[in-house]
């Protein structure tokens, strides 16, 4: 125990006073709008009809969860983008982290170079890829033709399945570096002695990987995957630029569908209800995340 120091002593009001500007702003700009949005979600406010609205109860939520085929479809689309993205990001990120762990010279530079896509805005990344996917002058078709792999101008957004794959590829490009950084940090926290004693005991590199690296990296992987999962539910900018939800709504995500309902159809109440359905989903995911964190801390402590 440390003796009470002068810096720790405080007047009663000081802690609250120091925190009050932030708390006030959070209350005004986040909490109040959320409450207001919840109130709106129980009305039938539709700006395309007029400024008047009335209370309709849970009607919007019932419509969103049971009747709105477009929204339910967008839930499915989001899942169809998330699942392969997460799987590839995890495997590729792990592979890169393992490779980086073996680099002797130039590791910081290579790591920083590989990390750049994670810092780039999804909008800019998507715009670059949109141009690379270009039918006649895009880099991918040009390269494919030059190498003799493609003999026609291929339309990467022509069919729903290929569009989803194209979106997933950009998502992987944008966020594998994040997974790589997280896993690299996890790898570096594994004590080297474990590998040395395994070597003394005659373990092969493969055995060491399965019985030391993977078990000790499990929780780091879980945290990385959870963070990506939660962020992927917000997938919006990438879709906006790359496909605008097309073709035929095949790449419409939940966030993008909500945006369209709110700012194309101007159905404010219904969009609020949709956004609360998304918040509910994210909240569940957050609780799982907290639980994973706690498990990890329990292990570590």
């Amino acid at each position: 125990m440390r003796a009470m120091t002068l810096a720790l002593k405080r007047k009663q009001w000081e802690p609250l006073a120091f925190a009050s500007p932030a708390l006030l702003l959070i209350a005004l700009v986040i909490v109040f709008p959320l409450v207001y949005a919840f109130y709106l979600s129980l009305q039938n406010f539709d700006l395309s009809v007029g400024a008047d609205y009335e209370y309709v109860g849970a009607k919007n939520y019932v419509e969103a969860l049971f009747r709105d085929q477009r929204f339910l479809g967008s839930v499915w689309n989001t899942a169809a983008i998330i699942a392969p993205s997460l799987a590839v990001e995890l495997l590729l990120g792990l592979g890169l982290a393992l490779l980086l762990g073996r680099v002797i010279r130039g590791r910081p530079v290579i790591t920083a170079l590989l990390a750049i896509p994670a810092m780039v805005s999804p909008v800019m990344g998507a715009m670059a890829w949109r141009m690379m996917y270009g039918v006649k002058y895009g880099a991918i078709n040009n390269l494919g033709r030059q190498l003799g792999l493609l003999d026609v101008y291929f339309d990467w957004f022509g069919s729903p399945v290929i569009s989803v794959i194209a979106v997933v590829l950009v998502e992987i490009w944008l966020n594998t570096p994040f997974m790589m950084l997280v896993l690299l940090a996890g790898l570096q926290s594994i004590p080297q002695e474990l590998y040395e004693s395994a070597k003394v005991d005659g373990a092969t590199a493969w055995q060491a990987f399965w019985s030391i690296t993977l078990p000790l990296l499990k929780f780091t992987m879980a945290v990385g995957v959870m963070i990506r999962l939660i962020d992927l539910t917000k997938l919006f900018g990438l879709i906006f630029i790359l496909t605008f939800g097309g073709p035929g709504g095949a790449t419409e995500t939940v966030a993008f569908d909500t945006y369209l309902v709110g700012f194309k159809d101007f159905r404010m109440s219904y969009a609020s209800a949709l956004s609360f359905v998304i918040v509910g989903g994210v909240l569940v995911l957050t609780l799982v995340f907290l639980w994973v964190q706690r498990m990890r801390e329990a292990r570590a402590g």
Binding site: P15, L113, G224, F236, S272, S275
Partner: protein, 293 residues
């Protein structure tokens, strides 16, 4: 081991085989990383060369991968015809102001948490929940409120929302930096008669300044990259770079290569700079949501 054997001058067959295997192992590591570098940096290379092509180079087949001579005409076009200069300035101003105000608001809060455990578990859970909160849930009420208050299409509106959205992240990182600052130094200053405010501003801040710079740079890049609030809340005068690129997406995937690629180059420039400056902090910052606002 290999070195010891070499020194003694006895090169056994086993040592040679060991070295050969190690050499192949290293070669494979660097080969794999080279492939990864091509995949992750290739698009940047292509976008930069594309932005420097003249029109005849876009349409040439076989494709021109490296334009010669490079031409800056698309940058000129972006700045004159598409008001690129104005939107670049908007992004700069909004990001800088948001960064400064997020820091100013978060520092005292972080201090209160780090030194007095203000708010306990509740506040840290609240901050985590806010970090997870999808922006889409805020945009509708914020849009309606801003419309009523006349805050759409203004710097102030965007700066306010960015500041607040950024508080959880900034507080989180700052708490760590303040905890690392030895309380004895602060104590000594206060015993010498400093008020708490002076002890914080004149003694602590200069020492934790590098940490604050990290937070500031993450805040800058996050607001620079933000898209949803920007596209809904900005108008003709206040568009940011992220909103500008949407104007190049109409008219098929092959249109507007020149100015579009030039604006992407300008749009990713800060990310490049900051990725290198923040190398050591990338994991922590990215994990807490540092770049995707």
């Amino acid at each position: 081991m290999a070195i010891a054997i070499e020194r003694s001058g006895v090169t056994t067959r086993r040592a040679r085989r060991y070295r050969a295997r190690r050499f192949i192992g290293h070669a494979l590591v660097y080969l794999g990383l080279t492939v990864a570098l091509v995949f992750f940096l290739g698009p940047f290379f292509w976008i930069v060369t594309t932005s420097l092509k003249g029109n005849e180079d876009f349409f040439a087949y076989p494709p021109v991968w490296i334009p010669s001579p490079p031409s800056l005409r698309h940058y000129a076009g972006l700045f004159t015809r598409s008001s690129g200069a104005r939107y670049f300035t908007n992004s700069m101003v909004i990001s800088t102001l948001s960064m400064l105000s997020a820091l100013a608001v978060s520092l005292p809060t972080a201090y209160s948490i780090a030194r007095w455990r203000f708010g306990g578990g509740f506040l840290s859970t609240l901050l985590l929940v806010l970090r997870m909160l999808p922006a889409i849930a805020l945009i509708i009420p914020i849009y309606i409120m801003y419309k009523m208050l006349g805050l759409t299409n203004s710097y102030l509106g965007l700066v306010v929302i960015y500041t607040v959205v950024y508080i959880p992240f900034a507080v989180w990182l700052l708490v760590g930096f303040i905890r690392d600052f030895p309380i004895e130094i602060e104590d000594a200053a206060m015993i010498d008669g400093c008020s708490r405010l002076r002890a914080v501003v004149q003694v602590m801040v200069p020492i934790i300044a590098p940490g604050m710079a990290v937070v500031a740079l993450f805040a800058f890049i996050a607001t620079w990259n933000e898209f949803l609030f920007a596209i809904v809340l900005t108008g003709i005068e206040t568009k940011t770079m992220m909103v500008l690129v949407t104007s190049f997406t109409t008219g098929g995937t092959d249109a507007f290569y020149g100015e579009a690629s030039a604006s992407v180059v300008l749009g990713v420039l800060p990310a490049f700079a900051i990725a290198f400056i923040l190398q050591r902090y990338l994991v922590k910052g990215l994990a807490l949501g540092g770049t995707k606002g």
